[in-house]
């Protein structure tokens, strides 16, 4: 009888301890447990062991929750593509994109890996490819048919010797602004990672930087179609003022109104701020001027600014901000610090 009693008492305590750790106890039960712990050292030790085990379970969360099956499918797709670089970057056969359709949701993520790992194959394979790359500076150039483009820093555009024969195909990495020569017989087609952008003659902007988790297309004039490479039924048609966003995470393609007035500032050097916080202003300046401006205190970061800067140098802009917001400018290496007296 005594043994049974002690077992059931133990079970009760275990339930109480578990509920305590799971935060499922009433105030009364909490004090009941606390007084039990205070009774002797061995109770406290028992409790500590349960508590350690409870907390240890958290540590395995990453390993337990990774979907290995999904990751393996992704790996298999990559293994299949090895040694057959044609599959990876489709340049002259639109149908090739459809080979990815069975990969469905992995295709977009996959493409990002493959582009980098196979760029060397690709480089040798299409030795008659022209590549225009902008590194530290924005670059403006033109294509054989007279279409012009501006590449933002760290972006590149490729086209091969067949450009303009039947159609006008280019491969983009990064950010670009196109001004396309109208030619309804030869469509202008941009391979921008997971999406294909098709146009007849227009000007528009694409951001297909690999580090972004989305591809953006913004149209300034004309009509542009944006389609998911693996499923051309997944497409939107854009006209002036529209923006398409392709999200790599779930392959969704959305059409939205464009609200960013500064999307082309890297090309035009025209920046418009309407009641924007200074931290946002600085972020835009850093992007456009490739600068490293930091703000020293929160008070300054959250001040609001309204200005239009048209083709100004960074120094001119900083001087205007300095006068408007009563700032001090300090230089430290290549870092520009905006501060003010009383700032920490």
């Amino acid at each position: 009888m005594a043994k049974m009693y002690s077992d059931s008492e133990h079970t009760n305590k275990l339930d109480l301890i578990t509920r305590y750790l799971a935060n499922e106890v009433t105030e009364e039960e909490k004090s009941e447990l606390e007084s039990w712990l205070a009774e002797n050292e061995s109770n406290q030790q028992t409790f500590d062991q349960y508590k350690d085990a409870w907390n240890d379970v958290d540590k395995a969360k990453d390993q337990m929750t990774i979907d290995v099956g999904a990751e393996w499918k992704l790996m298999q797709a990559k293994m299949e593509s090895l040694g057959d670089s044609d599959k990876i970057i489709s340049i002259d056969t639109p149908a090739r994109g459809f080979q990815y359709s069975r990969l469905l949701r992995y295709a977009a993520i996959l493409l990002i890996f493959l582009v980098s790992s196979t760029s060397i194959y690709y480089y040798f394979k299409f030795s008659q490819t022209t590549t225009v790359t902008a590194r530290a500076e924005m670059k403006e150039s033109s294509l054989p048919d007279g279409s012009t483009f501006a590449l933002n820093r760290y972006s590149s555009l490729k086209y091969d010797k067949d450009y303009g024969k039947q159609d006008r195909r280019v491969i983009l990495k990064g950010e670009v602004y196109f001004d396309v020569e109208p030619d309804s017989t030869r469509p202008f087609i941009i391979d921008a990672g997971p999406v294909i952008v098709t146009v007849l003659g227009t000007s528009f902007y694409i951001n297909a930087s690999e580090e972004n988790d989305l591809v953006e297309v913004i149209v300034e004039s004309g009509t542009v179609s944006v389609a998911y490479k693996s499923d051309s039924a997944n497409n939107v048609v854009l006209t002036k003022g529209d923006k398409a966003e392709f999200k790599l995470i779930d392959n969704t393609l959305l059409k939205l109104p464009n609200t960013d007035v500064n999307y082309l500032s890297w090309k035009t050097r025209r920046l418009v701020f309407k009641d924007k916080k200074l931290k946002k202003v600085v972020k835009s300046l850093n992007k456009v001027y490739n600068s490293n401006i930091v703000i020293e205190c929160d008070e300054i970061k959250n001040r609001r600014d309204t200005h239009t800067f048209d083709n100004k140098t960074l120094e001119q802009i900083l001087n205007i901000l300095k006068a408007t917001h009563n700032l001090e400018i300090k230089y430290s290496g290549n870092t520009i610090i905006l501060t003010r007296e009383g700032c920490e």
Partner: protein, 188 residues
């Protein structure tokens, strides 16, 4: 980790590769995650290590341990990633990268990874119903009441399963902790 998994480089065919992938992917990703910012970067790094391993499977030292190769490759790629990020982020005031000297000696990160693995094995050994209830509470953050409603069982049953889960985990982990030090010796 698993005695049945081939731990040498010779004759790595696709099914062996798949087994290695399934066995090591979660642990390697969690290991990488201790060095890099986010889960996606960690996964990318591990994917790249595996694809590189697959490409080179015929050209590597057949006497080397696969496990040791995989973990040291992931470690090297993480260090490269951190180095590249530093260059890249110089212009971004929002990103602060901590210099952590312990990165050069990954043994504490490996020890942690190994412990996680033991915990994972212990969890996998729980009776199915018990594990389901236990993890709904611990990982999905559901209250006893919510679990009971979801699984259409009584709160009392949830409580019983929770207590059982905790008790078993306590017992299993006590056994496992002693094995960790031995397992580490073979890693590098």
């Amino acid at each position: 980790m698993d005695k049945e998994v081939q731990d040498r480089f010779n004759h790595i065919d696709k099914s062996t590769f798949e087994m290695l992938f399934n066995n090591y992917f979660p642990a390697l990703t969690s290991f990488a995650r201790k060095f890099v910012h986010d889960m996606d970067t960690a996964k990318d790094i591990v994917h790249n290590v595996f694809i590189n391993f697959w490409e080179k499977r015929e050209n590597v030292d057949p006497n080397k341990s696969v496990k040791s190769y995989l973990f040291s490759s992931v470690h090297n790629r993480c260090l490269n990633h951190i180095r590249d990020q530093k260059k890249f982020d110089q212009n971004d005031p929002d990103i602060v990268i901590m210099d952590n000297p312990s990165f050069d000696d990954p043994s504490s990160q490996m020890e942690e990874t190994e412990l996680e693995l033991k915990i994972k094995l212990a969890l996998q050994e729980l009776p199915e119903k018990c594990r389901e209830v236990f993890l709904m509470n611990r990982y999905d953050g559901l209250k006893y009441r919510e679990i009971a409603d979801k699984l259409n069982i009584s709160i009392k049953t949830v409580e019983t399963q929770m207590s059982k889960g905790l008790k078993l985990m306590k017992e299993k982990l006590r056994q496992y902790i002693n094995l960790i030090i031995l397992a580490l010796i073979s890693w590098f």
